[in-house]
């Protein structure tokens, strides 16, 4: 009898689980992710000699339409924040797959724990820009969460997993099943209703996580108000669209008053002093120096 190690056994088991891509131009290397609809593998496009990611449905016949719909959504969205789709096809065993560019980087929450608040907000702005683009094309993501956002080495942001994405014009009846992730899913999504403000809710929940990494401070009150406004239970009480949310966050970053926060006078003075501290310090230095020279003479 020949004994094989656990590691070798695990490797053989993994190879046995790999889908059969013979007859296609792709070599499948390893599993890199799992979702509700299927598995994502790292692969290689032999003809173009490049690494790719391949998403395959769980079993033959399952989610064929849904995976196809996701591929069509991605193909309709040509944006730096959205992974481009290269190919769609069907395997000999009946499973459906689509091929996309491989995404390198780390999850938003992982990167966020290592960078400053202003860098976190800059990343958030890029996510908002991507979702605003999708909304402008009539597409709702419906499952935004840190796990679905990857950040690359150059702070480039990619929004992933558009498996639950739907056209805004799609009849409500098509969304009768509950879709989303608890903690990020807007209350109305549990009733099968979704519009742009549902994605605004999820973005507000993501922003809450990014702000929570910072020690509590008076200076962060405007950001807390933005989060509260974006994650209001009633969609009508939220920002009407992603651009409005992103604009308010940018106002905070630039040191301006944000729309979601009513600022008491003292807080306004403190913000002004923070924003223009260098200019104030230089003008004060000039005036102090003038007074000193006056007294000296």
């Amino acid at each position: 009898m020949t004994w094989i190690s656990d590691r070798a056994l695990e490797s053989l088991r993994g190879m046995a689980d790999l889908p059969d891509f013979s007859g296609t131009r792709y070599d499948i290397e390893e599993e890199i992710g799992r979702g509700g609809m299927g598995v994502v593998f790292r692969g290689r496009d032999r003809e173009l000699a490049r690494d790719v990611a391949v998403k395959v449905t769980w079993w033959p016949g399952s989610d064929v339409e849904a995976l196809g719909a996701e591929a069509r959504v991605l193909a309709a969205l040509d944006h730096p924040g959205i992974v481009p789709v290269h190919d769609v096809g069907r395997l000999p065993d009946g499973r459906t797959y689509y091929v996309m560019a491989i995404v390198r980087g780390e999850r938003l929450d992982v990167r966020a724990s290592r960078v400053s608040l202003s860098d976190r907000l800059r990343l958030f702005d890029r996510v908002c820009d991507t979702i605003a683009f999708a909304h402008a094309r009539g597409i709702l993501h419906r499952d935004l969460k840190p796990a679905n956002i990857m950040v690359g080495a150059f702070a480039d942001v990619r929004v992933l997993d558009w498996g639950l994405a739907r056209m805004r014009s799609e009849p409500t009846g098509a969304m009768t099943h509950v879709a989303g992730t608890e903690g990020y899913m807007a209350p109305e999504q549990t009733r099968g209703i979704a519009d742009e403000r549902s994605d605004v809710y999820a973005l507000g929940a993501i922003l809450r996580g990014l702000v929570a990494l910072e020690p509590s401070s008076r200076a962060l009150r405007p950001l807390d108000s933005i989060v509260t406004h974006a994650t209001a239970d009633d969609p009508a009480s939220r920002y009407p669209d992603v651009q409005s949310l992103a604009a308010d966050v940018r106002r905070f970053v630039d040191g301006h008053a944000v729309e979601a926060h009513r600022e008491p006078p003292l807080e306004r003075i403190a913000r002004f002093a923070r924003t223009y501290r260098t200019a104030i310090a230089l003008v004060l230095a000039y005036l102090v120096m003038r007074v000193v020279l006056l007294l000296w003479d």
Partner: protein
């Protein structure tokens, strides 16, 4: 407003105020009262020159700290030249009284030009073939 133009305007305006401040520094000095027009014109010209030089530099740097330090250096240098000219003309040279405000005004112009001036447009890349 482009950085050199903003530097020119800001340097000129601050130069006028800096020149007029001589009246506050020495209100009873008849020489200053008599020569205030010349002082203001000279101070304005110095401010404009400082602003243009700092604006030119601000277009070439990405660092606010570098912009402020350069503003200080230019402000001190030009104010030092004015003091030397005074000395060569046989007048008492007011080194501290001219160089200190000149240096700090240079820092203010450096800060404002760097922060509020519009950066120079980048050259377009050649089209993809």
């Amino acid at each position: 407003m482009s950085k050199p133009v903003l530097g020119l305007v800001l340097g000129g305006v601050l130069g006028i105020f800096d020149g007029l401040s001589a009246l506050v520094s020495a209100p009873h000095d008849p020489a200053i009262r008599a020569g205030i027009v010349g002082i203001v014109v000279g101070s304005t010209m110095k401010g404009i020159l400082t602003g243009v030089i700092i604006g030119w530099f601000a277009r070439r740097t990405q660092s606010l700290a570098a912009g402020i330090v350069f503003g200080l250096a230019v402000g001190l240098a030009l104010a030092g030249c004015v003091s030397l000219i005074q000395k060569l003309a046989g007048q008492p040279p007011y080194y501290w009284q001219i160089m200190l405000p000149g240096g700090i005004l240079g820092m203010i112009v450096g800060y404002a030009t760097f922060t509020y001036g519009v950066p120079a447009p980048r050259l377009a890349r050649p089209a993809q073939s």
